[in-house]
């Protein structure tokens, strides 16, 4: 499971957690998140997310 960070506002999409309130179930991999999905905090597009290193 990976984490993806919004380049604009630092919101983190955690594949393990998903975003259940938006219909994205826990465990949804990033590539399976719809392309039309946007950052819940600032509205940035999916392409504005980058993989976040997890230590």
């Amino acid at each position: 499971m990976k984490k993806w960070r919004c380049l604009v506002c630092d919101f983190v999409y955690d594949e393990a957690k998903g975003v259940p309130e938006e219909g994205i179930a826990p465990g949804t991999r990033w590539e399976d998140v719809p392309d039309s999905w946007t950052c819940p905090d600032c509205g940035a597009a999916k392409s504005d997310f980058v993989m976040e290193e997890i230590d």
């Binding site: 380049l7 604009v8 946007t38 819940p40 905090d41 600032c42 509205g43 940035a44 597009a45 504005d48």
Partner: protein
């Protein structure tokens, strides 16, 4: 594959070379001084504010609006084209020439007070306009551009904008929690202190949280606010060491005035607009109808399409040359340049803009972002639901 693009209808960016005017504008205080030397007329010290406050709004009126968008097929290539990056980069040396040259003249130029004041407003104006350059660059993802953003923000003492704008304003835009979103019934003069104070406080807290998560102190050298402010301190110290103490008040006051220019633009970008809360209490996403837009050509050129503000909030990392006009979004009657003059006159602002806000919400002002002290009165006046 690549040959396919050759058969596509040729599209040229009509504004391509006009973007160079962004560099020209940054030198205005110096051309004003040049015209003064040439003609002996002190009036020319005021060239910059006269152009921004009167000529650009006039051009917006005369030239009108450009609603055209680049075709979708060309967007990716257009966004990648280096030319547009360099046009923005090149405005920064011009900005610094005006700032340093202007401060030099203010201290050593042996000016009369009305010349000095004109120069102060002119230099402050270019510093304020440069926040727009810092804004464009601060949204990009490369290290170089993000550093240049901090450098563009240094003469105007607004380094915290780098933090607050992306991670504060873009998250809370068009909500009562956003210091940089003005409320219905709030004059510019009420908005200004609330926004300045709220933005600095928010920028500090955003960095504090980020650094604490990494187990670091807010006073760490990695604090983006401290880094950006440090450039201002170093710059002002160097100029003061060179020109003497009289440089310092000039730089500080021009910076304060420049900052107020950003805030007056903030004031009109989201006036009265509000995102609605969803059932779970969180706000709906920022949508095109949460920003005031303008397609007025003259202002759009010298503000790098900032007025295509809905697209900017929907796609914050989209670079200026690719920003699009949307149909059906809230639109201002003039460009931002003309509207800031209106914002300076609250009675006129309310007369022009309040009916537009009421119309936007179809009369249902319960959906608007209203100044808390007048909320009940406004709701009683318009009814909370006239449907």
């Amino acid at each position: 594959m690549t040959t396919a693009t050759l058969s596509a209808p040729a599209w040229t960016d009509k504004k391509r070379y006009l973007w160079l005017l962004g560099i020209v504008v940054m030198g205005l205080p110096l051309y004003g001084y040049g015209l003064y030397l040439w003609t002996g007329l002190s009036l020319f010290f005021w060239t910059t504010p006269v152009i921004v406050y009167t000529l650009i709004p006039l051009f917006d009126r005369l030239i009108g609006e450009d609603e055209s968008n680049p075709p979708d097929g060309i967007m990716a290539a257009l966004a990648q084209e280096k030319y547009y990056r360099y046009v923005v980069f090149a405005a920064i040396p011009a900005q610094y020439l005006s700032f340093i040259g202007g401060t030099y003249l203010a201290v050593r130029g042996d000016l009369v007070w009305y010349q000095w004041l004109g120069l102060l407003v002119s230099v402050g104006m270019t510093s304020g306009l440069a926040i727009n350059i810092g804004h464009e660059l601060g949204h990009q993802t490369s290290k170089l551009e993000r550093w240049l953003a901090k450098i563009a923000l240094a003469p105007v003492m607004y380094g915290h904008f780098y933090v607050e704008h992306n991670r504060g304003h873009h998250v809370r835009v068009a909500t009562p929690e956003d210091p940089a979103t003005s409320r219905f019934g709030e004059s510019f003069y009420e908005f200004l202190p609330r926004c300045v104070y709220g933005s600095i406080k928010s920028a500090w807290e955003i960095e504090k949280q980020r650094l604490e998560k990494q187990g670091k102190s807010v006073w760490s050298i990695e604090n983006d606010n401290l880094q950006a402010w440090a450039i201002t301190v170093a710059l002002f110290a160097a100029v003061t060491a060179w020109l003497g103490w009289w440089a310092l008040p000039f730089m500080i006051v021009q910076g304060a005035y420049g900052g107020s220019l950003l805030e007056v633009v903030n004031y009109l970008e989201h006036y009265g607009l509000r995102r609605q809360r969803k059932a779970d209490g969180s706000y709906e996403r920022c949508q095109p109808h949460h920003s005031w837009n303008s397609n007025h050509t003259a202002t759009n050129i010298f503000l790098y399409h900032l007025q295509r503000h809905s697209d900017h909030h929907a796609n914050p990392t989209r670079s200026f040359q690719t920003l699009r006009n949307f149909e059906g979004v809230p639109r201002l009657p003039n460009g931002y340049a003309g509207m800031i003059v209106v914002a300076y006159l609250p009675w006129l602002w309310f007369r022009v803009m309040d009916p537009k806000v009421v119309q936007h919400f179809g009369g249902d002002m319960s959906k608007a972002n209203i100044k808390p002290s007048i909320r009940d009165r406004i709701l009683a006046k318009y009814g909370s639901a006239t449907a």
